[in-house]
Symmetry: D2
Subunit: 406 residues, 4 copies
């Protein structure tokens, strides 16, 4: 790509070391104007420092947006309607945020007349794919700069040297050290990769985790909550209605306090390698369990089974970055069609890492019919004799085959 | 069905009240000889009393078989290779035992010259289907008697009255009471249905659970174990090789002591109704988590994803009673093909209901390549520039469509 | 079922021998009032004789409805959006008509205050299932009478004797004979079962077929037509807009004249047996080919592939009678989501049984980009170098595994 | 890629213009030794001229192998067991040949001590992917040279100029012209792309087709044949046993003479674009129809349906080049498990483009039970009353839901 061809680029800018170096590098290498975009998606960091740093770097157009509610209502909740779980374990916390950020980058490019976007994801990971597939799907002519695939600052030392050379501040954590992990956070989760995790036989050190207490440190008595659902989305905790972002934040708080939501897995990246990741998803872990519980009461069996069969594919699409794709939209249409009846309440006991469903009810949509299900006499609600024909016809093909085998 | 047509029937006989009444009822109603079959599949009850009772009832051919090893090696382990989980929650403990019992009933019918089999499952549940589909698949001409679908002893009171009238002993539990739940147990699990569980909003009383302590009562310090796998099956705990049944029993013991494996769900029965079930599956819960962990390290991504997509269907087949069917065998062939490389060890921390994977390794089959996955410089193991083409071609169709939308 | 319990029953009445016998039998056996319902769904028979016969039998409420347009627009076309083909061959002509008839039976029951419906489908076939699943789904408390499962008139001779005994006219075909086949017809197809077809090694006699000429008898010159599609549905032939029913009728005419749409298969019935069926579906055969062709130009690859994977399940649902089910509606939502862009024209050559696509275009939605696809130089529309990275990352997991195998 | 790094390369060499230019270009650009490999996979061309040309170009190691039998028995037939059809139309004739050629390239590289392979596929197509995925899967360290992605000879004119400059003969077809289409042929099919086909609204000119007569030119009387199957593979025509390659060749001859097997489609390439392709697959078209027919008689319903659902994915894997992948092997294991019982004969009528099944039988494995299927009285083979319970339990969930909706 001829570097001179770019006039203005919108950079996904966190204010941290990496994207600060990228900001400077773009100005130098591409000689183009840089617009910065910093999103609040609940990562729990101050955003004003990013503004100050961007100003100091000579950026004229600085975007800082609070996307928390859009993130949860338009991305997280639709995904939870699908009970999405990548490879049986991962709640897709990072995956689901990338399309939103990339969508906003494209919008800002249109607003500012920029012809390119840039991001700080490496050439080894999934995030570059998620950013860029979204960008291309929304603006097929956008130019994309991924410095990590272009430059030679491929180690931390080289990056630090570049920063020092250009007077870019390297901030330390409050305790004066820098986390050795590669991390990503938003309202749904915080993730950890790298460092000691690169050996899948090694347990992460207890200090790594940030959002949850260890189950051992959680309270000795359970916390009980009730979550209310409407059309498959959670709308209330203990009868109190909350906006999507506030509800998820509250579940994070309660879950984190009870040691809920830690995951430690080896996963398969879209770019072809296996990698180790640790995740804290306290609210999401509670939500998945609760959503399945309210579905168990209100969803038709065959619709539920079909959802379960389609789920791994849906999860892969989100993981791989195909949120804005016809196939994801097609699956979403199927899923959303089923959620009209997913209304009711779930009662949960949270205790030292456990999420235990202890009750579920739905005034309007429960398909649980105690009169039929009872182990006592049912006064004719169900005719046991029907089972004979049911079994015999379901067995017919097996019997014919058995006769043929002789 | 003309009652007189049966000459000899093999009854699945537990020695409990229900099947003791059935034994007598068969003798009376069908006027035929009854052969009893009592299986030890790890339900944890003495079987000799069943022999004595059968003898007392005049049964001449009494079969009492220890099927524990066959149960685990030929049924439980193949199912766990599939990571089977019905409706996201249920480990299929009852489902997987029925085909084995029915297969043995058919074998005994052949050995004894019986023309029929009988079982004590009701006309409302899944077990009748599982027994009978298996029986018909293995002997298409077998006659099947399901007293619960025929007789009028449809309440507990009527059953007790019949027992009393015919001098059939009604045994109580050791504490002099009778469990109010409908239960089923084998080496994989124990299940509870009925009574207070018929209201899905009500939490089961703490006394119901029998195999596991409550998480609150579990030890305050974690237990760490290592499970060794060969070809997808567990073969050792902490380096000690165990037979399939012994290994599962040991996992049950450890899991139960740590409050692991309780499940409380509303599930969809094959006969069309929703029902509430509670399950304790301590060893199975550990095993599923461990098996997924060793697969995460050794299984190819696409094979793993395909397994995940096929799993719900496999689980439904087992749940519905189609173990001996061409479609289950077809799926099993696909699953087993993938398990050749599933070898290695998984380290787990068990703590108050939590099963936490803290390490996995595979000398011979790990596909985790630290040289490629590292966040540090990788000395050319991976060319980051490859990602550009990868993304651009994956995006091509999305870009063409976006251009057309204009 | 206690016969006396029925007060009024709505009978699906064709006016033919079988349903005329049923009408009388219902009056006799159930002693209840019978309402007749005769639907015109394009079967190509006069309906007024049915009215006369019903009147003669003392029926007071007689419904004769033209459902052709509803049949095609609300049932046939949605199904064709899915490219539904049961077991790779069968276009579901009978299956798709049953839910409509049953829905109308239930509506008429509500209008007339009837508590039951009745139909003339046998206890061996799929149609009973399709009628009754629909009926129960729309009115869970409806009573259903299926005389073929109740009475003892199980052979043609007994039926004829009953007819004669009760003065029911047995009509012959125009040529004075009665077809030896069991047939069913509507706007989508005509089907044949029974008689010589009961031996799957025997070719049906040429006289059996009624809607199509044999390919050998078709014109020696091809007929070329253009079909216009909007949102996945055909709307015009050769530029002439037609209503759904008229369009399908016209395709039947053209296809039949060119020997198109004969199928001869062994299929698997839902009730568990294999059966032989022959079908003539001239218009539907053309439509499926044309719909796939317009989709090939306008549909995204991954959406198209997902449709193909879901299609067999959709087809089974229709075949088995689950039109009015949550799972069919769920799949339909996914399918319909994809059809917004399925707009354009397809040109076809019809010749002696062949349907040959010779052109497809879409002004508004074609995703075929000649600039990219060309074998000539493309002026940078596609960067061939991108393929290197695409292949290398797709190969990565295979290479890592190969290295491990050594 | 540093050109100097290659010592010896194995080139997939046809002897035609493109690969002759590549041969010379490799010698010049890479300064390395070239080994040529020319495969006979039934493309119907003389191979000795390729030897002479390679010798003239100074090649010392020349491989010319007849792979016809291996191609059909180990690649084509396993694929036909799956009834594989890409996007509902394409029989995968080119796709299935590429893994075999690439496998042989890798074997020859090992035999000759070459460190690289080269092929003549362009950077826009699927074939590069198929060659290279196979190569990497079998030898993860192989180097791959794809001249079309490297050089600047991107138009036919430039290629011709290079050929002339280096004295490379440009051969014409027998009639002195050169086909304007891009073609590929093997025992399964011949394909056409490019030229007039780049407009999907234009019908291909009649002269394009080479293997089949037009239906209009085919004989006026049908040809009837019988194909015998064992374990899902065809083994005999009209009772005469033939080797796999000979059998397929014979079906090609008969099909071609009867105007069978032309396809004209727009397809989705793996690299992201839509392209137009025309194919002649006479034998394969007959074989697919015949295989489905023998399966219809011998295969269990649920196994058949599962095969149909998995088929599109299997076809995509083959199309995309993943023959030597764990996921294809996994699916193949499932498919092959079902084919043990697929034995018998199919009778077909071939007439002017039509393949009409007129009979199917299987002495040993037919699951068609005339006694059950008959429309006449069946003497108790099937109890019609069983259908009542079957329908009622299948309807139960729909009824409960309908009651809840009210």
């Amino acid at each position: 790509m001829a570097h001179g061809a770019i006039k203005k680029v919108v950079l996904a800018y966190s204010g941290g070391l990496d994207t600060s170096v990228i900001l400077r590098w773009l100005q130098e290498e591409y000689g183009c104007e840089v617009v910065t975009f910093t999103a609040d998606i609940g990562q729990g960091e101050e955003l004003e420092p990013a503004r100050a740093k961007a100003q100091a770097a000579g950026v004229k157009e600085i975007y800082i947006d609070d996307l928390c509610e859009e993130f949860v209502s338009d991305f997280v909740f639709p995904m939870f309607r699908a009970n999405a779980l990548y490879e049986g374990e991962y709640l897709l916390g990072t995956s689901i945020a990338r399309p939103l950020i990339a969508k906003r980058l494209i919008e800002i490019a249109a607003e500012t007349g920029a012809d390119a976007i840039a991001h700080g994801a490496t050439g080894k990971g999934n995030d570059q794919v998620r950013f860029e597939l979204t960008a291309y799907a929304l603006n097929p002519d956008i130019k994309i700069i991924a410095p990590w695939r272009e430059w030679d600052l491929l180690s931390r030392d080289k990056l630090m040297a570049y920063a020092e050379r250009h007077g870019i501040a390297v901030e330390m954590k409050r305790d004066g050290t820098k986390s050795p992990y590669s991390m990503d956070a938003n309202l749904l989760h915080i993730s950890y990769e790298g460092y000691e995790l690169e050996d899948p036989w090694v347990e992460p050190s207890p200090e790594m985790w940030r959002w949850t207490v260890a189950p051992e440190q959680a309270p000795d008595h359970p916390t009980t909550i009730e979550i209310g659902f409407e059309h498959g989305d959670p709308v209330a905790i203990d009868g109190r209605r909350l906006s999507p972002a506030k509800l998820l934040a509250e579940l994070n708080r309660i879950g984190g306090a009870n040691g809920i939501g830690r995951t430690d897995i080896v996963e398969n990246r879209y770019v072809g390698m296996k990698s180790r990741g640790c995740y804290e998803t306290p609210g999401g872990t509670i939500l998945l369990k609760a959503h399945r519980a309210i579905e168990s009461l209100t969803l038709d069996r065959e619709a539920a089974h079909l959802k379960d069969e389609l789920m791994p594919r849906y999860a892969s699409l989100v993981y791989n970055g195909y949120w804005f794709s016809p196939e994801r939209q097609m699956l979403q249409a199927a899923i959303d069609e089923t959620q009209k009846v997913v209304n009711g309440e779930v009662r949960l006991k949270l205790y030292k890492g456990n999420v235990i469903v202890v009750g579920r009810k739905s005034e309007s949509n429960s398909l649980f019919d105690a009169a039929i299900a009872t182990f006592e006499e049912d006064a004719g609600a169900y005719n046991q004799g029907d089972a004979t024909g049911f079994i015999r016809l379901n067995a017919l093909r097996l019997r014919v085959a058995a006769r043929k085998r002789g």
